[in-house]
Amino acid sequence: MTPVLLMGILITFTLSLPFFGLIGKKIRRERFLISTSAISITLCAFLLSLLFLLNNMHVNSVLAAFNTSPSPEKPNIRIDLLSAYMAVIYLGVCLLVLLFSAKTVARSKITLYFSTILGMVTSMIGIVFSEDFFTLFVFWESMCICSYTLVAFNKEREEPIEAGYKYLIMSSAGALMILFASSFLYGLTGTLNFHYISEGLNQAKEFIVHLAILMLLVGFGLQAGMVPFHTWLPDALSTAPSAISAFLSACTEKIGLYCILKVYFIIFNSQYQEWRIPLALFAVLSMFIGNISALLQDDLKRLFAYSTIANTGYILAGIAIGTSKALSGSLFHILNHAIVVALLFLCTGAFMRQVRTRNLRELSGIRHTMPLTSFALIIGVLSLATFPFLNIFWSEITIIAAGWEAGMAWLSFLIIINLVFSAAYSLRIIQWAAVKRTTYISRRASEAPLSLVIPTLMLAFTIILIGVYPAPFQRLTETIVEASLYSK
């Protein structure tokens, strides 16, 4: 019953946050009231979902459901280990993002900001808990509406408005693709429930089924930043407020990948074999275009946005390989990359607040004036470069080894080439931030306040922890793959 309770708490609290804001305005403690209540509720939800995940590690089937007697017509909520795992990641990142932005947001906007972020994380949890296209679509669109608002949050400037408009048009078109595909699936099977669609279309070879799969791949891949549908991503991530960029790249991308996993391994399991090569092609395109564009960037946020596209490619490669080892590598990479990219964007946010720039050349030698933030940044960047004994190393190794074993050695080889590219731009960042001399801009900087440093240091500590001691996390992802994706 815990997850349904969790959803109930989150939805009720999100909807009542504007009233908290009104009360806070009356007693002149708006920032304190809003940030404390939002952070404590998110902390409670995070601990609740973590406990739920750890308590149910041995359960090999559905953990909880809203409707205990399923039927083709009823919308349903259904939780398995995979969705609990994703919910833990989202709530953890959301908690740190809220901690980071408690002091940085302008006072007049704080209620809007916190309630929109909470609305976004609530709808993401709704997406991972849903079991039919009806529920999925409602939560998907509410997540999208919240994220358009957050991208265009600084409406006084031109760039966020422009990026927000581009994101709105592209992402709505993607959502309509998903909706059109689900209407065809409804016409073929008479239901919207994933389980019944999967039964009704078992071994179906019709053209329309493959067309529907393609449309679902385009719609979800657009949100995941898959090349060639990635063009909104660098603009949106580079113009949104930094905490929002962290949240978008750590969670919204991953929800697209989660849905692609769900499409191929839960709904269309019998058609999966024909889609391995197209998925691998999309993965290779994403890796190369993301990494090569990142090599040429001086703007830190655009650089990290392009590296996000490349990492989407690695995860898609794991999905294309499709053995249980590759899938556990992909899930592990989802966790690792969420942590790393959240850390990188939060560090950039701290730089932008203290130095008012995000250009790599102007930040030269920032290590001397902002040691703690630079330490966290260097840990994150080293992890992005797949430095051994940091977390991304282990998941990359798992995906590459799985590709080798499954007879897709060419894909593993292409991933290794891309690791060289990512090492190149990561070392370039370290060279500018730590080795070069200070400029007159970076000499004037001072260390960021404690509320900004603590979240970044916590993330850096998690990176080192997973890197040094990866075994329990690998066991966790293997259990999840066995229980959720191969259970049928």
Binding site: F134, F137, S142, I145, Y165, S183, G187
Partner: protein, 103 residues
Amino acid sequence: MPLIYYVACSVILFFIGIYCLILKRNMIRLLMGLEIMMNAVNLNFIAFSSKVMEGATHPLAHAFTIISISIGGCVIALGLVITVYAYKHYGTLDVRELRRLKR
């Protein structure tokens, strides 16, 4: 009338919407293209609802369509708000003029 006419009509509408998104330059026309695509999807759902249940209409599709119309309204409203701000900043509705980010 057989079902295929309705489905063909909705597919054509969907492609008109995509055509509009690709080729039109006015910001409000792009939003109208999205609206046409939404209508195509809703028509498709309603057409299939008579096929799924012979002699009657299936309630699931109708419920979905009503929800999807209201969600579509929200998205278009947000798009119009962003368009208003863009018009304030740039003084035009032409998307080709929005190129502060093309570097």
